[in-house]
Symmetry: D2
Subunit: 153 residues, 4 copies
């Protein structure tokens, strides 16, 4: 999985991603921050936090999915035209191991960009005692939405 | 989608589900409550809440997934033996429409119970101005886990 | 799962579906026939056949997927405009039980039609000794393609 | 995506995979051959063939899925104990581009092996005029089945 080498259509892609991310209240709730924004690849980090856990004390699968979906969504968004908004159509997540650790790194990568439909992959890593472990993988299909007043950015 | 007619292995299934749900901190974060617990079917409700939203003000897809995953997980758990814990292996979510509304109803239903692997379907409904609309569907595959000390209930 | 009540955009939808199905060589290979074509719902039947089996003598999961994907694809196609072609973007299949039986009934149903993206569900039933059993479920996301010369119907 | 470095539990893994593959009638129907069998990775090749096509002359998505599912299944099987059979529980396939070409290379790779549940990834490449192109990706979840008389190998 080398870093993708995509040409962004919008030179301001990083500012657009950061501005939209800042408006995602769910990312504040997760304590998530944008670590990396490259054309076609976005990395989000978050600490373990009790309000995000399931009954065994691991990060809830849905919270892992929330961060991964945003990582994938913004990876796709980074390659979209400046008048497009991004919506997830469908995603699938494989939970390979309990999301156990002190912090988490969520990487979203574009596999195939498209004018309308973009396909991404996400990888969730738990950092536990200084060691990183792959705990989930996501496949995520996005749609670029243009010209809907209530859906911008 | 008629209500399933499954025979629970554990007559105390409802108490077990409610006790485990109460330990899911993520459900408190969502403001979610357990509305219905039947053998093989569980319904969770939650209000719209700003901390759960994405950049357009809709519920974040991952938050919809979090509630649906719990609904599916507990639907499966309701049919499991009393010494089993439940973990999600994989889920897929179709986002059919923006999760826009005052409150949300998440229904998880067992399609096929199994000793090790259980398959569920989830349906997410948004209630907006008194009208209910299907906004997401989930397919969710669960595993019953027995004999792991750190994974109970 | 009641039959959907969708209004076709194209009154000739059935002829279009049947004509396109006849051009799918893969359906001949499967011995598949079009049993039902309604707006938003298509049913395909096929007999068990040795060349379609996996190592245990059951229908290969991929062959079940082939028939279900066509059922879903044509269910979506039945609601599309007359200048649109249909392509599957992504599908997921749950294999609930071995595909064991004398014949198979594959039902594709539109869940949410859309101008660009359509979401369908598929259900595969095995008929074994006169009894019908659900053996697989599919979620299938389609795209309407317009204006590409090499992709028609 | 480096080749996986897994330790097979069964030193005869390659013979077991080849013997089981030979019993998959569906692979004969596809004209598929086993190109590579390593611990945790299997590669299947097949030529384009008219009986496998959809209405636009591309390989039918289900036929791509059939070959990829076998590649993933045998990748998982290569790491299983000698008394285990393999069944696919669920797979998801992203169709990134039309399956257009003279031949196809299907690579299945284990992401996470497990005693009961194994997770694999599949990548389908079309070879068209000497150039290779990624046309589909699969996520595939397998179950090891032990002790069922009608399911061996």
């Amino acid at each position: 999985m080398n870093p993708p080498t995509f040409e962004p259509r919008n030179p301001d892609f990083e500012a657009r991603v950061r501005e939209s991310f800042a408006r995602q209240a769910a990312m504040h709730t997760l304590g998530a921050t944008l670590a990396v924004v490259k054309p076609g690849q976005v990395e989000i980090t978050l600490p373990w936090s009790e309000p995000l856990t399931q009954q065994h004390g691991f990060l809830h699968a849905g919270m892992v999915a929330t961060a991964l979906d945003s990582a994938c969504g913004y990876a796709g968004f980074s390659l979209m035209a400046s008048d497009a908004a991004v919506l997830t159509i469908v995603f699938k997540i494989n939970l390979l191991a309990p999301a156990q650790g002190q912090s988490f790194r969520m990487v979203g990568t574009v596999i195939k960009p498209g004018r309308t439909v973009t396909v991404c992959e996400g990888h969730a890593y738990a950092i536990d005692g200084g060691r990183e472990k792959l705990v989930a993988t996501m496949g995520c299909t996005l749609m670029a939405v243009v010209g809907r007043d209530n859906i911008q950015g």
